[in-house]
Amino acid sequence: MKDKFIKAQQEKLTLGAIDRRQFMTSAIAAGIAIPTALSLASDAIAATPKKGGKFRMGLGHGSTTDTLDSGTSENHFTLVNGYTFGNHLTEINNEGKLVGELAETFESDDGKTWVFNLRKGVEFHNGKTMTSEDVLASYEHHMGEKSTSAAKGSLSPVRSIKADGKYKVIMELDSPDTDFPYIVSDYHISIRPAGDMTSGVGTGGYIVQSFEPGVKSVLKRNPNYWKEGAAHFDEVELLSIVDPNARQTALISGEIDAMDRVDLKTINLMKRNPNINIMQATGTAHYTFPMRLNVDPFGDYDLRMALKWAVDRQELVDKILLGYGAVGNDIPIGTANYFHNSDLPQREFDADKAAFHYKKSGHSGKIQLSAADAAFAGAVDAAQLMANSAKKAGIDIEVIREPNDGYWSNVWNNDAKGWCACYWGGRPAETMMFSAAYVAESKWNDTMWKTTDSAVKFNQLVKDARKELDESKKRDILYECQRLIYDDGGLLCPLFNSYVSANSKKIAHGKIAANWDSDGAKCVERWWFA
C-alpha cells in the first residue's frame, strides 16, 4: 500500500504534477525517513536519459493532405513531425520558459529591434552549415508577398529583416513587442536551408527517411545533432492512427510505445493495464462561447454578465471533459501562463446573480446559442447543459445545432450568429493571445469587444504591455487587461481542457511541457527508453 502510494507520488514528481517539496511532505506523512525520501525524490528526478531503441508513436491526427512544409502545418501530426526534424530560432522548454534554440541568444533594447545571435556550427541534414542566409530565406518563405503560410499573420508586425554577418539576424518591428521572441518559436516558422523549404531537410535531432501523408513518417537519429541531452532514440516511426480504439489497441498490444488523445470514455480501462502510464497536462487550450457585442442582445453589459453567472462550469468539466480539465474564469489566459491573473475570484454558477443581471438587462425571449462538434468534441452537449443551468435563473437559451461543414466560416466569427461555441489552442505569451482574438484590429476578434470604455482601455494597455521591459510593471498591466476582459468582455470561457495521452512504462521522460500536447509536441527529442 505504502510502496504503491510512494510510487504514484514519484510518478507525479517526474511528470511535474507535484514539486519536490510536496513529494517530501507526502513521503514523510507516509512514514518514510527524510534521507530515504530525499533519495527517492532524486531517483525520480535524476533518471538519466539512455540512448537507443526504436520509438513508435500513434497520433490521432494526420491526413493525406499533409506536407513537410511547416508553413501549412495544421494538425498535431505535422506539428510533432516538424519539431522532430526541424528547429526554430527559439523554443519553449519543458518548464514553459522561453529559451534560445537556433538563436543562442536574443536581445532588444527597446522591444522594437530584435537581434538574434545564431548558434555556430549547426549543420542541416544535407551537410550545409546553418547561417543567417538560411534564416532569411526561411522567414521570406512565410512573409513573402505570395506566401499563404499560416504564419504570415503572426509575422505581419515584422517590418524588415536583415543579416549582420553570417551569425546575426536583426528584425525590426512596426511597434515594440517584448514578447516577440515567443512568436518565432511558433511551429510554423521552422528554419530550413535556403532554396529548400519543402522537402523536410532541417537541423533537428532526426532525419526524415520517408514520409507518407496520412500514414507515417519514418526518421533516424541525426548523428551530428547540436543539441545536448536530446534525441535519445535511434529510430522513430510516427504513425497516423485516427481511430481511437485502434490507437489504444496498438498501445496495449505493444505495437506502439506512446499515443496521444486517449479516449476519455475508456480511460479507466486503460488505467487498469499495468504496462501503461496515463499522462495529463493542462495547458493554454480552452473552450469558449464568444458573444458578439455588435449583435443584439449581447451589446448589453448586464445580459453578458447574466450569462456568465448562469453557467455551471464544474458540471461542464465533469460531464464534457469527464474531469480531465479545469474550470475557466472568462479570461483566455490559463494557469499555465506566466502572468495568469489569479486574483480574480472564480466565477461559479449563481442563479441569483444571473437573474439579477438578466432582469436589469430588460431582455426577454429566447437567446440563441449556435454549436457544432466542429468547435470542440461535446460542444453541442455543453450548450445543452448551459441552457439547462440558465433555465434555473429564468434565462431561456435556445441551442441551435449547426452543421460541422463550414462551421468556422459560416457560424463562428460571423455577424449572422451572435453567440456560438469556439476552441482556442491558447498562446504561450499573454499579449499573443490578446493579439490573436481580443485587440480591436484582430480579424479573429470573435467577441467584437472594441468600442466599450473598458475595451478602449484594454487596447491601450495591451500596447503598453508590449513595450514594457520591466517584469513587475508588465505583470500589473497584464493583470488589469485580464480583469477588463473578465468583467466587460464578450468572452464566456468555462473550460480549459487537458491533453491526455498514454505511453508504455518503458518510456521515461522529464517534466512534461503543457504548451502543446505530447510534451510540447517535442516528445520525440525529449523522451527515452528507461
Binding site: 491526413s63 493525406t64 493532405t65 506536407t67 512544409d69 508553413g71 501549412t72 495544421e74 518563405h141 513573402g144 505570395k146 506566401s147 499563404t148 503560410s149 499560416a150 499573420g153 523549404m197 519543402t198 520517408s210 507518407e212 496520412g214 500514414v215 507515417k216 504513425l239 497516423s240 492512427i241 485516427v242 481511430d243 480504439n245 485502434a246 489497441t249 496498438a250 496495449i252 498490444s253 505493444g254 505495437e255 506502439i256 452543421p403 461543414d405 463550414g406 468556422w408 466560416s409 459560416n410 463562428w412 469556439c422 476552441y423 480579424k443 479573429w444
Partner: protein, 295 residues
C-alpha cells in the same frame, strides 16, 4: 450540395474572406460548376484526372500531386486486401454453399447458416474489434495495425493484412454461400435433376455435374457484387486497422473538399463495379450458352 470549399476546409478557424477568395481563384473554383465539370470530363476521357487541390498553398510553389499519383499506391493496397479477402472468402463460400446444399436441413447446414448469418448481421467495425480483441489484444497472434508501405515484403504484407482480410471474409461469406446454396437447391427441383436421380446418379454427382453448371450465373453475379464491395466499400475496415487504402483517401478528400481526388476515386469505383458485373455476365453466358439465344 456539400457546403464549404477547399479553402474554407483547409484553413478552418484561420480562414479569412480574402485567403478563401485567393484559394478559389487559384483553383478555378470561381468558375461555374458545369464548366468545371466539362473541363474535368474532357481531361478524364484523355486519361488525365487532373491535379489534387492540396499542397498548393505555400509561397506560390506548386507542389500538388497528380490525382493518379495519389490514388495509384493506395489503389494497389486496396486491390491487395480485396484479393486476399476474395481468395479466402470465394472458395470458402462456394464449398460451404455446395456442402450445405448437399446436406440441406441437417445439423451441419443449420449451424453453418447460423454462424455466417451472425457474422453478416454485425457491423464490420464490431467484427473487426472482436477479432482484434481475440487475436491481437488477448493473444498476440496477428498485429492490430495493418500499416503496410511500398517497402513491406510480400510475406510481411500478408501477415499484416490477415485480420482485415478475415474481417472482410466474415462480412461477405454469408451472402455468397447462401446464394450458392439457394441456386443449387432451386435446380434440384427441376425435371432433369429428377431424371438424373432416377438414372441412378449419386447425390454428389448430381450437384457437381448437373446442378452446379446451371447455377453459375446467379453465383457469379453475387460474387461480382461482393468483389466490387471489397474494392469500393471497405472504408470502415481501413480506419479500424489503419490500412492505407483508397477508401480513406476518398474520405479525406471529401472532408477537405479536394474535388479532383473525389472525382478520380468515384470514377475508379464506378469502373470497378461495371467491369466486375460485365465479367459476371460473361461467365453466366459462357457457362450457359442458352442465354445467347432468346426463346
Amino acid at each position: 450540395m456539400l457546403p464549404g470549399d477547399f479553402g474554407q476546409a483547409i484553413l478552418g478557424q484561420a480562414a479569412l474572406p480574402e485567403t478563401v477568395a485567393a484559394f478559389r481563384q487559384e483553383l478555378g473554383l470561381d468558375k461555374p460548376a458545369y464548366i468545371r465539370y466539362f473541363d474535368w470530363a474532357l481531361g478524364a476521357i484523355q486519361g488525365d484526372l487532373g491535379t489534387s487541390f492540396s499542397g498548393r498553398n505555400a509561397s506560390g510553389a506548386d507542389r500538388s500531386a497528380e490525382v493518379v499519383d495519389k490514388i495509384a499506391p493506395r489503389l494497389w493496397n486496396t486491390l491487395f486486401l480485396a484479393s486476399m479477402a476474395a481468395l479466402i472468402a470465394v472458395p470458402l463460400s462456394l464449398i460451404l454453399g455446395i456442402l450445405t446444399a448437399l446436406y440441406r436441413n441437417s445439423f451441419f447446414d443449420r449451424s453453418v447458416n447460423t454462424a455466417t448469418l451472425t457474422t453478416i448481421s454485425f457491423p464490420e467495425f464490431f467484427v473487426a474489434y472482436i477479432l482484434i480483441l481475440f487475436f491481437a489484444s488477448l493473444n498476440q497472434i496477428f498485429p492490430s495495425l495493418a500499416n503496410v508501405d511500398p517497402d513491406t515484403n510480400f510475406g510481411e504484407r500478408i501477415y499484416r493484412t490477415a485480420l482485415p482480410a478475415f474481417t472482410l471474409t466474415l462480412v461477405i461469406v454469408a451472402h455468397m454461400m447462401r446464394m450458392t446454396r439457394a441456386a443449387i437447391i432451386n435446380l434440384l427441383a427441376s425435371p432433369y435433376i429428377q431424371m438424373a436421380k432416377l438414372s441412378g446418379a449419386s447425390q454428389t454427382e448430381i450437384i457437381l455435374k448437373h446442378a452446379l453448371p446451371n447455377a453459375w450465373a446467379p453465383i457469379a453475379t453475387v460474387i461480382a457484387f461482393n468483389l466490387a464491395y471489397l474494392v469500393v466499400g471497405v472504408v470502415v475496415v481501413e480506419v479500424v486497422f489503419v490500412y492505407p487504402g483508397v477508401g480513406q483517401l476518398m474520405v479525406d478528400a471529401v472532408r477537405t473538399r479536394d474535388i479532383p481526388v473525389v472525382q478520380g476515386c468515384a470514377l475508379i469505383f464506378a469502373v470497378t463495379y461495371i467491369l466486375l458485373n460485365l465479367i459476371a455476365d460473361i461467365i453466366g453466358i459462357v457457362t450457359n450458352p442458352r442465354l445467347l439465344h432468346p426463346k
